[in-house]
Amino acid sequence: MSDTTAHGPALAVRGLTAAYAGNKVLDDISFTVAPNEIFVIMGASGAGKTTLFRHLLGLNQPSAGEIDLFGEALHPASRRDLYRLRRHIGVAFQHGALINSMSVIENIELPLRQHTRLDRNTIRIMGRMKLEMMNLAHAEDYMPAQLSGGMLKRAGLARAVVMDPPILFFDEPSAGLDPATADELDSLILRLRDAHNMTIVIVTHALDSAARIADRVMIIGDGRIRALDTLDNLRGQEDDYTSTLLGRRSRQREVDGDALLDRLTADFDE
């Protein structure tokens, strides 16, 4: 895989389409992410960000389309190939998704214990190095239930990067955090890109965070790509959806009074 990182995109998505109960939730999504790029996926609530995120990780199966990771097919792929490819990605979930029955350090060591033959002490040192990087050294023996939201995200990030993957996926790094903690997490993401040459794909709705870290931003709405460019270029676009999402225009809806009344009383007896 390291050979392929120098050539071609780190992540290539072509014609990704997904449907649930007959409704398209992702419609012909195509984009590429260059190596060492911080690529931010933005969208309003319900736009399809999380659905796209899960498809990129192979957690959901699309109805059509292809996903390549460093030139190798993530979809379609056999279960064995999927697991082999996943050894080269790091994933940080919105709420950390730490295993509740393990301490923080045990969580971070888990991928090393499962995928390497390193001795216990080496694994412990590597785990502690990642905790130091995330400023969580004091929380080594804490259980996940004892951590704050920001600490959970940082611990989840430490576990995601413990194998030094070439690509990191991060779901909502800033969600629910105070500005100082969110800023700290953004600095960590930049450091991971600059010091470890990681390609980073982030799903977020936080504009401030995207402005600080993104090389390019893709905006999705109703399961389709609405815009894809640098944030500066996007700010100049006239598209209503993009303008609303980037905060230049308030969201406006025309309300049909009769239709609204019908909806509110649809299941009432006459």
């Binding site: 109960a21 990780l57 957690l59 996943r86 994933v91 979930f93 998704a97 295993i99 888990l110």
Partner: protein
């Protein structure tokens, strides 16, 4: 995702059985390679086996005592008190020990396994394992299968021994039957095939318990009306306990009918 969510109420039971069957097929290859997750299996064995010893011992003791009490009262009427040991031994070994052990394990361990796995599903912990290239069937489910398949037959054997001891206390100590009559009658009437039936039931019930309870938690998100969080986990756990208990009783009848 093993099978897409159903859109029809009629299809749900069929899809549910299909998903449970696929779940078992994906787990079994890891169960036959127990050394892969040896330390986790040992931890589960401690939880399922060692920590159930007290409740199984207490239940076994009281069940043996009450069975002896009931049979003594009946046998006295027919002048056949000498058969007390045989009656206690056969009823415990053939029927009561495997069934009651299974029901106790469902209540103490099955509910806990289902809830733990359901919470992991609900909090994306299982997705996180998949993303770390750790197969949840091998890492989470197979150790529970291995531990349950080892622990339940051993707990059943313990239930038998303590139940027979409870029967001895009532029959010999309280009602004055001789040790020889109690144990001799038992040794004469309990055959190897009764012990085999006891162990066949114990292993079958262990498989039913661990299969149903882990599958209910693991596949919680694929239910016809999926619920997550506390409500979803509690719903899945209740379902798992009820389904496993009924399945054990059904399997008990089938095995008895086939082996008697």
């Amino acid at each position: 995702m093993i099978v897409a969510r159903p859109h029809s109420r009629l299809l749900e039971p069929i899809l549910g059985m299909g998903r449970a069957g696929l779940f078992l097929l994906l787990v079994l290859p890891h169960v036959v390679r127990p050394w892969r997750q040896c330390s986790i299996s040992l931890r589960q064995l401690h939880f399922i086996g060692t920590r159930s010893l007290t409740v199984i011992a207490i239940a076994g003791g009281f069940v043996g005592m009450v069975v002896a009490l009931q049979f003594h009262d009946t046998l006295v009427r027919f002048g056949a008190v000498g058969l007390l040991g045989a009656a206690v031994g056969l009823s415990l070994i053939r029927e009561l020990a495997p069934v009651l052990t299974a029901l106790i394990v469902i209540g103490r361990v099955g509910s806990s396994m289902c809830a733990e796995i359901g919470i992991m599903r609900s909090d994306n912990q299982i997705d996180a394992l998949e993303c770390m290239a750790i197969d949840p069937y091998a890492y989470l489910i197979a150790p529970r299968f291995i531990a349950t398949l080892i622990a339940v037959p051993l707990l059943t054997a313990l239930f038998n021994v303590i139940g027979i001891g409870g029967g001895w206390f009532v029959g010999v100590v309280l009602f004055g039957l001789s040790d020889g009559a109690y144990f001799g009658g038992m040794a004469d009437s309990v055959l190897w095939r009764d012990i085999v039936m006891d162990m066949v039931k114990a292993v079958s019930f262990a498989l039913i318990i661990v299969w149903i309870t882990t599958a209910k938690g693991f596949l919680m998100h694929l239910a016809r009306r999926p619920m997550f969080g506390a409500a979803g986990v509690s719903h899945a756990t209740t379902d798992a306990v009820v389904a496993a208990s009924i399945a054990v009783l059904f399997a008990d009848y089938i095995i008895s009918a086939l082996m008697l």
